[in-house]
Symmetry: C2
Subunit: 209 residues, 2 copies
């Protein structure tokens, strides 16, 4: 029963992959807007109807194409978080990974985030869940700093986390919007803003470089 039924399911899964691979290739080669769903279907060797039988719309295809990579980028950032001692540098590092990815894939990332930020739907929900996790990590870093006595204990961790996320989105927005953003410049700006946010609450006499 299972073995026989599998034939259809396997076929379906493979078709879905074929379409996704074609989409990835064409998006990378021609950009999002310049790639037509018809050309994706042709590249994948299926009819247009099949494309939309597997993915509800074009933006979902882009989301599926980028989601894995973005998750990977965040994961990598998390792995080497511990290398930094200053919690502000940990926060900076957390954002820089994504910033670098967004700069490298500016036009595709811009399209996805434009959608995810302002629209509703499963694709936006999935993306925003990733961002919620991201905020949780930031919150943990700030909480640790308070517990270690590096930060004044009267700060509201939740409010500071929101402030950090605001900075993150602000700088990420610039990475997506500017004409030829330089990672170094944007990182410097990010660092300045994060330090400005926290320096007033730092207890030990750590000075800015």
């Amino acid at each position: 029963m299972n073995q026989t039924t599998n034939k259809r399911i396997q076929q379906k899964q493979q078709t879905a992959l074929l379409i996704l691979d074609a989409a990835k290739k064409l998006f990378a080669e021609q950009g999002f807007e310049n790639t037509t769903t018809r050309s994706i279907a042709t590249e994948a060797g299926v009819g247009i109807g099949t494309v939309f039988a597997h993915y509800p719309d074009k933006i979902t295809l882009l989301g599926q194409a980028l989601r894995g990579e973005i998750g990977q980028v965040v994961e990598n950032s998390l792995k080497i978080l511990g290398q930094h001692q200053e919690f502000t540098e940990q926060l900076v590092h957390l954002s820089v990974g994504l910033m670098a990815y967004y700069i490298k894939n500016q036009s595709l990332a811009r399209e996805l985030i434009k959608y995810a930020t302002f629209q509703k739907g499963p694709e936006a929900a999935a993306f925003n869940e990733q961002m919620t996790n991201f905020a949780l990590v930031a919150s943990g870093i700030i909480e640790q700093a308070v517990k270690k006595g590096v930060l004044d204990s009267q700060v509201q961790v939740s409010t500071m986390t929101k402030n950090y996320m605001a900075i993150h989105f602000f700088v990420v927005g610039q990475c997506l919007r500017l004409d030829a953003p330089q990672l170094e410049e944007q990182t410097t700006q990010l660092r300045e803003m994060v330090q400005a946010l926290f320096t007033g609450y730092c207890l030990r006499g750590k000075s800015l470089p």
Copy 2:
């Protein structure tokens, strides 16, 4: 020469107004996506081609429809800025006007800002110029606070301004994204974030309420 030429020019200007008025009406009644350019043409009593002879694309029509109102809102906010003594309250007040407008016109404003934030073109440029002016006002408020000795003179005004703008965009983003945002809640969050940003640098013993 002028008088006779005016006939054409006047006719053209009136046609443009007719189209813009029709667009305003239909956008308000049916939303941006649900309003077709054809229906705007019909409502205005002109052909579709005429619509695009006057406005390069649909989003420009929305921009023209909202730009005036948004400018008005900012102007009104500026007029009563002086009523607040605490500079943090001045900053909060600066944002609240726009937030209220965005909540009231959520779906249309979202569409315009989605475009202006991530796309290029004259419409986006015009909107971003408004935002640059907005940032200049904020910068002035912060600079004043430093000069008055309310803020530690070692703060970088430019960096703090960026931090404030980050908060502004963050909260405005929520006003545009959430399902039924409450102005009071969003204002409270904005105030918390602004106070958290500056409290560490405040010289006088002004306490939070």
